[in-house]
Symmetry: C2
Subunit: 221 residues, 2 copies
């Protein structure tokens, strides 16, 4: 039977959260990576210029071997949406692994799946994770039994390689790393709070605060 | 005026080639990242389970500040498609930067834009690049004047950060790296031919040869 990896997507998703792991996991033999949502159709990122297709509706998907919940500003309404949370809880009952990238972990938290567990998310949202009864940590990939959470955005690639290692061993994980030529050489080393200069941290926080303010204003209109 | 980055997409695209750079570049201020194709509509990866939306047709796009051509098995027919190549040549005339990820560089090569230039692509296709008059190199990001080519799949993230550095300076590039928490920690160090064990290289080559054989058989049917 085809191994089934399911990625629920939504409006205002962060595309790389979903596509990074997809690019790793779709290369597994006898495996399908399916994209679904409450309803089928194109779901756009927050810039509205990139759309990903949900080919399946929640009603089409009643089980998964792996559930992978991506993040993005769109997770905020989902954390209060009982249709979403009920579906996540039901699918989680069927999985070998339940996983998240970035603020996807807030959805797992809202569904009650992270209580008492160490977990991670985007560095800017660690406090929110604590509110769901998880114990936040800044590690990049956090395994707790069959629950794996990953840090912000690009961390999903690393998480997916760890998952491949668990599913099919070291050699397959290394082969996929080579196939996607994942030999990172960023021009700087500022990818975490511990490494970025303070002026850079201040700049990102200012942009995010501005963004949150606009979101809040839009929500009350 | 909004700075315009244009990403042409197609059937059998490698999604991360396009979405990695998107996730970096969409965070630039006053910038739009547009996805286009010969016709609008959803373009699927080779697994057929992930679809990206082309919101614009070629006829809608007559200029770009940055052209970014992603790769994938779908570049093979494009390298012989005069509609595509004419459009690429015309847009290139208008850009500040013309760029590619993975086998996207073969499209630039087929359009005649790489003659006499050092360039890169996925490690498995360096010979094909030479056939277009380019000088293949295994560097991850290769700048030649206003042409930038990047190596396989995941290298587009590094290339996009280099591009941000050129466009807006070090601090903005570092801020975006922090925003997407790009602090790579793959579980192995096998992301290039120079680093992967021979058994892993053999495994990937066998899978790719099998894939090419199936493609060739499908093309003759």
């Amino acid at each position: 039977m085809t191994y089934r990896i399911v990625v629920p997507i939504f409006e205002n998703i962060t595309a790389l959260d979903a596509v990074g792991p997809y690019e790793v996991l779709n290369r597994l033999p006898d495996t399908e990576v399916l994209f679904c949502s409450e309803t089928t159709g194109t779901k756009y990122t927050d810039t509205r210029t990139l759309g990903l297709m949900a080919t399946h509706a929640f009603t089409d998907i009643d089980r998964a071997d792996v559930l992978l919940v991506p993040g993005g500003f769109g997770t905020r309404p989902i954390c209060e949406d009982e249709v979403w949370l009920d579906w996540v809880r039901a699918i989680d009952q069927t999985t070998d692994w339940t996983t998240s990238v970035c603020t996807g972990s807030l959805v797992l938290g809202a569904a009650g799946l992270l209580k008492g567990l160490r977990a991670t998310t985007h560095w800017s949202e660690l406090d929110t994770l604590a509110a769901y009864g998880a114990e936040p940590t800044q590690e990049r990939v956090v395994e707790q039994g069959r629950i794996i959470t990953a840090a912000g955005v690009s961390s999903g690639i690393d998480m997916a390689l760890v998952l491949v290692q668990r599913l099919m061993g070291d050699e397959v994980a290394q082969a996929i790393q080579l196939a996607i030529e994942y030999d990172p050489q960023p021009p700087f080393d500022s990818g975490s709070l511990a490494k970025a200069p303070q002026s850079v941290i201040d700049l990102v926080m200012a942009v995010m605060a501005d963004r949150k303010e606009k979101e809040a204003a839009a929500a009350t209109n």
